[in-house]
């Protein structure tokens, strides 16, 4: 009897140690505060819940940063972490947030669009919880998120996700994917409320351009591109041709399929006056046939299995020993976003948007991503 209780107590102690050792890092990850040094050009910080009351007090509520120029003009909305496991988009939007000056028009940034997914992870796929970016003054730590919102915030999953309002049947997991729940509704599941709030921003603030910044596998055909519906195609094509000619990198145009519902590049255009664009840069980390999912792979994109596949022409992007480093991916996002804004401003001068001091592709490749993040210990004011 005594032996049995000793054994049970010992096993239970091991169980508790496992729960605590495994649970504390996950708890800290979920409550991690992303470091952000705002540009002096930030004029207002709002919450997404101001546009949809159903988000108030939930993990899906997130900051919306406004950078308003002195001269009236057009408005651009930049969203990242729609899929929070595609960090080049987040880093690009933070570079805008920390460095941009807006001369004319307004720039609105939502860096952690799917805030719940930014606090989620995928331990079964061996995702690292954090990654660090080197700067001249030290390392900055960012949380690595997941593609979908946490089930702690939206549960249960349906057997099949029925898209609103088109009733198209999608995978059950897409109920927590904020690139399938557009245009959303105010009283729907939490992720539909997130996209509804963004639609409300576009309608109420009269947003001209919406840029949703992503990353995609090198083995997925829709990568290294700008996805645009018919109404945005002309500007997307001009931006694609210009970055290729002037900056020397490829970002082709993919048409947004009209029969596939719930995606930002489709629904934003159909349910508002805004012109949507979805930006994709390659992210080897997300490819299935890679080595271990390490921070190093996330940052440098170098993988010998992908290299072997590239030699067999199985990838949809050029790939060599240099991999796809983060600075290249972030640089592409910054340049493509700036070029879309420039093309739109040329086409409709009365709604022009002038964004200054954001680095282009070549500068990011030369200086690295960390060069553009500011030391929080130095008070700029």
């Amino acid at each position: 009897m005594r032996h049995e209780w000793l054994f049970k107590t010992g096993v239970f102690a091991v169980f508790l140690a496992l729960i605590i050792a495994g649970g504390i890092p996950l708890y800290r990850h979920r409550h991690f505060q992303m470091p952000v040094m705002l540009s002096p050009a930030v004029t207002k910080v709002a919450k997404l819940s101001e546009y949809c009351a159903g988000l108030r007090g939930t993990m899906a509520d997130t900051n919306v940063y406004f950078l308003e120029g002195k001269e009236a003009g057009g408005k651009v909305l930049l969203m990242s972490n729609t899929h929070a496991n595609e960090p080049a988009g987040l880093l690009a939007s933070l570079i805008f947030l920390e460095n941009a000056r807006v001369d004319k028009g307004s720039l609105i940034i939502i860096p952690e669009f799917n805030s719940s997914a930014s606090r989620n992870t995928r331990p079964g796929d061996g995702y690292p919880l954090y990654y660090e970016i080197q700067t001249g003054w030290g390392n900055i730590k960012f949380a690595m998120g997941n593609r979908d919102a946490s089930p702690l915030d939206q549960w249960p999953d349906p057997d099949v996700y029925i898209h609103f309002p088109d009733k198209q049947m999608l995978s059950f997991i897409d109920a927590r994917n904020t690139n399938r729940t557009w245009p959303g509704r105010p009283n729907g599941p939490l992720m539909e409320r997130v996209t509804f709030a963004a639609m409300e921003i576009m309608r109420k603030e009269k947003i001209d351009l919406a840029l949703d910044v992503h990353g995609a596998e090198t083995m997925f055909p829709v990568t290294n591109c700008i996805v645009a519906p018919e109404k945005s195609a002309r500007i997307a094509t001009l931006a694609s041709l210009t970055v290729k000619a002037m900056e020397g990198f490829e970002s082709h145009v993919e048409p947004s399929p009209s029969g596939f519902r719930g995606l930002s590049h489709r629904e934003i255009g159909d349910y508002s006056e805004t012109l949507p664009f979805l930006l994709e840069a390659p992210i080897p980390f997300l490819d299935q046939p890679t080595g271990a999912k390490t921070v190093r792979l996330l940052l440098d994109g170098k993988d010998r299995f992908l290299l072997s596949l590239a030699k067999q022409k199985k990838l949809f992007v050029p790939y060599d020993e240099t991999g796809w480093p983060m600075e290249k991916r972030v640089g592409q996002h910054c340049s493509v976003a700036l070029e879309i804004i420039r093309q739109y401003s040329k086409k409709i001068p009365e709604r022009a948007i002038r964004v200054l001091d954001v680095p282009h592709f070549a500068e990011l490749v030369k200086n690295g991503v960390g060069y553009y993040f500011h030391d929080p210990t130095i008070n700029k004011n």
């Binding site: 054994f7 049970k8 169980f15 702690l152 249960p156």
Partner: protein, 51 residues
């Protein structure tokens, strides 16, 4: 949705209770004991709203 969420947490607590009760009653089979504890992990993490 909220009602289902509450019901889910109530079910998790109920299952934790059942499993703990079985652990306490298990006298002989240590393999079953370990299995009970493994099954317990996700339920406890969810009730604590960790994962």
């Amino acid at each position: 949705m909220n009602l289902i969420m509450i019901a889910y947490y109530a079910m998790s607590v109920f299952l934790i209770g059942l499993i703990v009760w079985n652990i306490l009653r298990e006298k002989k089979n240590y393999d079953d004991l370990l299995l009970y504890l493994i099954v317990l992990i996700p339920l406890v993490l969810r009730v604590l709203r960790v994962k």
